[in-house]
Amino acid sequence: MEATPVTMTADPAPVLEPSARLVAAARAGDRAAFGRLVEPCLSAALGASIVITGSHADGADAVQDALLAAWQGLDGLRDPAVFPAWFRTLTIRAALRIAKRRGRLVSIDLLADPAADPGGPADGGLDGALDRRLLGRAFDRLDADDRALLTLRYLWDLPVAETADALGTPTGTVKSRTHAALGRLRAAFDAEARR
């Protein structure tokens, strides 16, 4: 289950065709039907993939991987109604696969002259206004698994159970990994703040 905040539905909401009919047509090889099936998912899938892989090109590659996997794997989709969730899982896994091949991200910002960036918490600590740029750098220092987990939890606002479904991990693991990932983000932020 998922509760979707309205702030995340900025994309035009298309008229929903019965997913069963679209899936059936896509299974028969109808690319147009498949296109209508995936259309509501593309923007969010691309956005999340970009976050996980750290680049627009890799993010697009990941979504293409997921599209191909979904297209070829439609026979394995038991319930057409869950296509979005299924496609989401394919996307996340594709993005993870690409991100892991690329290794850890190196933020462009990290290569810039630190002196040119006077931003950051005035007290060098954590109680001031959170510096978006430092947070971005800190996020880039996380590994792909952490980025994917935080994307599911805080971009898509998925509950723990659905995050577990998408990542193929037990619910308890999601909770502990979320806690650990936030801890690593915190540590990375601290490190960036000290730079």
């Binding site: 289950m1 070829q72 869950v82 892991k100 954590l126 978006r132 509950p159 193929g168």
Partner: protein, 582 residues
């Protein structure tokens, strides 16, 4: 922000939303990609290698995994045969000046170092400047490849190859090789006609409960991370490591099914729905020393396998009612009215108009509230309506929820049901069935099948060494609870049930049930899990009898139930029945 807050704050969400923001222009290439997708390959029936099965390459989507695959039984859905068209849009083709029509096979190597394993009769790659762990695309040309062969014609059984090595387009390395002996490339093997399970797979299959007619195929991956590219099976990411992985895919239920519960006498196990198959996943290079995980796809495709991770237990709470008498009454607490779960702010008329039970209505509202981080004390009214939006990446919409706050502002959310396990999600159904998870005990995969099905000296006879029998002198104190009820509150809960003393650390039984798995007195997300942990932190987890091992003397374990409670009617209890851990 304090340290304890971590980054569960708007700043993190804003950062992610900023980075995930894409324009329609950026999405347009994806739409064009959909229009240009290659023809769908249809699910094929089984294909079986020769008995002396070698390593082959199976393409899974864009990725490829070096696997040894031996189907068994019927209705395999392995992505086979490899189809060069999958790579029609791969820019690496241009590096080799090739098109898909030039090739008889195109596949990816997860690591270029796997080249020799895939082409056992080819000359080894020498002088490779790339990192051996880099991926590579291999193009097997029908005729002369992109390398000048000086007019020489290819000998039978040989092909020209072109490899594109590297993960980064900026550093792709092209390698052209002429007259490669491709006779060992299993992608060229003909459609099989049916052979017994390869003998060298037997030790692995025995770890999964023995040879079963229900085995669809066996996948052997050089690295667990290679499972990422498999489309037809769902491997928990937590198992994806650099260690080798063997996956036994079943047509229907795994031999231990139903998970964690010994089958009733005379019971039959219904096959899984098409497309959803149980898995037995073995991680490790030695079949006698593997970590085993059973993934039970279930009727709705939900993974309910054991976590393999230890659970930290808090201090045990005190049960409100306890009895060790069989069929003891579960206390005098009357069943609560389901209507009592609705908070006064929620419009009961809206719930009725949607046709939702009060429990489901509350679950819908609760998820929307949590998503918007709203405090009940500030919420004046809650209205629900049929969802206005069509589709969302998260799943099918269930209801639009509008909160009116004390300061006059409103907040809205669309609650969606995206879980594949719709039968157990209170947002998705009026009567969710509580799932039970018992990853230990007979029939769960914890206990191994004794060796002996293969004669000594035969391939496959080297199965795990049987554990020593239990020492009769070792102390054994089972935990048996015929009936016990626990008071519930909303939130994650660990209910401590008690301790058991296992002779020699051998777990021989662990199961429980609930009085009413479709109760509406409370709601949960996810399964109710039976968790057994040793009181000795140095002892391994109870994943597998062999990994846990035989322990001199006795081992004291803590037994708990772990569950996430989403709603509770006044007086609702978790009515545990027939629990045995010994």
């Amino acid at each position: 922000m304090t340290h304890d807050d971590n980054f569960d704050q708007p700043e993190l969400r804003e950062l992610l939303e900023e980075r995930a923001s894409v324009s329609d222009v950026e999405v347009e290439p994806l739409r064009r990609y959909v229009e240009q997708l290659p023809p769908r390959r249809r699910s094929r029936g089984r294909w079986i290698l020769a008995a002396a099965a070698g390593i082959v390459v199976v393409l899974a989507g864009l990725g490829a995994v070096a696997v040894l695959t031996v189907p068994w039984g019927s209705s395999g859905a392995a992505p086979w045969p490899p189809n060069p068209a999958y790579f029609a849009n791969d820019p690496r083709l241009a590096v080799c000046n090739a098109t898909v029509t030039d090739a008889v096979a195109i596949f990816e190597l997860v690591h270029v170092a796997d080249y020799a394993a895939q082409l056992p009769n080819a000359y080894p790659l020498t002088g490779l400047q790339a990192n051996p762990s880099d991926p590579a695309l291999v193009i097997v040309f029908k005729g002369p490849g992109s390398v000048d062969r000086g007019g020489e014609t290819a000998a039978p059984g040989t092909h020209d190859l072109c490899l594109v090595v590297g993960a980064d387009a900026a550093h792709w390395q092209q390698i052209g090789i002429v007259a490669v002996d491709t006779t060992g490339l299993a992608a060229f093997k003909p459609e099989p006609t049916g052979t017994p399970l390869a003998a060298d797979l037997l030790p692995w299959v025995q770890q999964c409960g023995g040879v079963s007619a229900g085995i669809n195929r066996v996948l052997q991956l050089p690295h667990g991370t290679d499972a990422m590219t498999l489309n037809s099976v769902q491997v928990p990411i937590s198992l994806m490591t650099a260690d080798p992985m063997t996956i036994v895919v079943y047509d229907g239920a795994h031999p231990f099914a139903p998970l964690g519960t010994p089958p009733a006498p005379g019971a039959t196990v219904a096959p899984r729905d098409p497309g959803y198959q149980d898995l037995c996943i073995l991680v490790g290079s030695d079949p006698a020393k593997v970590k085993r995980t059973i993934v039970e796809s279930g009727p709705a495709g939900q993974i309910t396998g054991p976590s393999g991770e230890p659970v930290t237990l808090p201090a045990p709470p005190t049960p409100v009612v306890a009895s060790t008498a069989p069929d003891a009454p579960s206390g005098s607490i009357p069943p609560a009215s389901p209507s009592s779960v609705l908070r006064p702010q929620i419009s009961a008329a809206d719930c009725a108009a949607l046709g939702f039970s009060d429990n489901r209505c509350l679950a819908v509202v609760e998820q929307a509230r949590q998503t918007n981080s709203l405090d009940w004390s500030q919420i004046v009214t809650v209205h629900l309506a049929k969802p206005a939006t069509g589709a969302w990446l998260g799943g099918a919409p269930v209801a639009d929820v509008t909160f009116t706050m004390a300061d006059g502002t409103t907040a809205k959310a669309t609650t969606t049901c995206l879980t594949a396990n719709q039968g157990s999600d209170p947002v998705c159904t009026d009567r969710p069935e509580i799932q039970l998870s018992m990853p230990y005990g007979p029939g769960s995969g914890y206990n191994d099948v004794p060796c002996g099905s293969v004669p000594a000296g035969e391939p496959g006879a080297s199965c795990a060494t049987p554990l020593p029998t239990v020492d009769p002198a070792a102390t054994s104190v089972p935990l048996r609870i015929a009936s016990v009820d626990y008071g519930l509150t909303v939130g994650s809960q660990v209910i401590y049930l008690g301790q058991a003393t296992l002779p020699n650390g051998i777990l021989s039984d662990a199961h429980f049930s609930l009085a009413d798995r479709m109760t509406q007195a409370f709601g949960v997300t996810g399964p109710v899990q039976l968790v057994i942990t040793s009181t000795d932190p140095s002892r391994p987890a109870f994943d597998n009898a062999f990994s846990h091992g035989w322990h001199p003397g006795s081992e004291v374990v803590s037994v708990s139930l772990v569950l996430d409670v989403t709603s509770v009617t006044p007086g609702a209890t978790l009515q545990v029945r027939d629990l045995v851990v010994r």
